[in-house]
Amino acid sequence: MEIITRQVKEKPLTVTIEYPEYNESVSTLVRKISSMDVNFSASIDERQVKIGLSEVYYIENVERKLFIYTIKEVYRLDSSMAEVEAMTADTDLVRISRTCIMNTNHLKEIRQLKNSRLEAVLDNDEMLIVSRKYLKDIKRFFQKGRV
């Protein structure tokens, strides 16, 4: 793969992908680049902030309120789970339970506990419960192919 970068002052940041044939790698590349444009408008201490997708560790629905968890902070997200799912459809975020959407880029391991429940371990050592029903979705995400 050849990477060409050049400065074009009059144009906004533009990414052109040339490929001999469209395959999983191209699809993943497009998804990765597209996901760089996804931002969440969230709030913390009555301040509005923009959070980039890569900063998100997971998004959780607690008593019908959505919260974004980053490595250090927890932000309130004024949106619904369905809206977030639609927004992150082609990104690295994947639903892991009825109330939680996880960023797979921060996933370190999935493990089965002694009581057979499933747990996702993130790279900050935080642990999230994974519903068996959504394990297939996580697997499908990794099957999509990576660049």
Binding site: R98, I110, Q112, L113, N115, R117, I129, R132, L135, F142
Partner: protein
Amino acid sequence: MKKILKDTCILAALMILSVFSISIIWSGITDEIGLVLKLFGLAFIIAVANFLFDEFVNLSIVVSYIIKYFAITGIVMLYGFIVGWFYPSNFWMAFIYVGVVLVLAYFIDSFIVKKDIKYINSKIADRSNEAK
């Protein structure tokens, strides 16, 4: 292989439904057609119950299957009494029918979950190695 088996089951179900739907036009609902339609009805109710259970309840696999066993047996018994499959003397057979299906489902589910976890973790390991 898994996909072929799944497609075979779906195709067989569609064939049965379409053939019987056409047969109903000519010969009405015979006992055989009625039985198959009742089985489809029961399968639909169980599938809905199973979907709702998996969506809203997150317990260990063993506890899930124990609860499902009693819930599904209850549904099968109730449905069986309504459509005339069971009588007070043989209703206990529902426990055996459901038990056999669920034991098989439990082992297949456990196996698939282990396999999926292994696959996901191997992909994460590949990603970590690529990043190094």
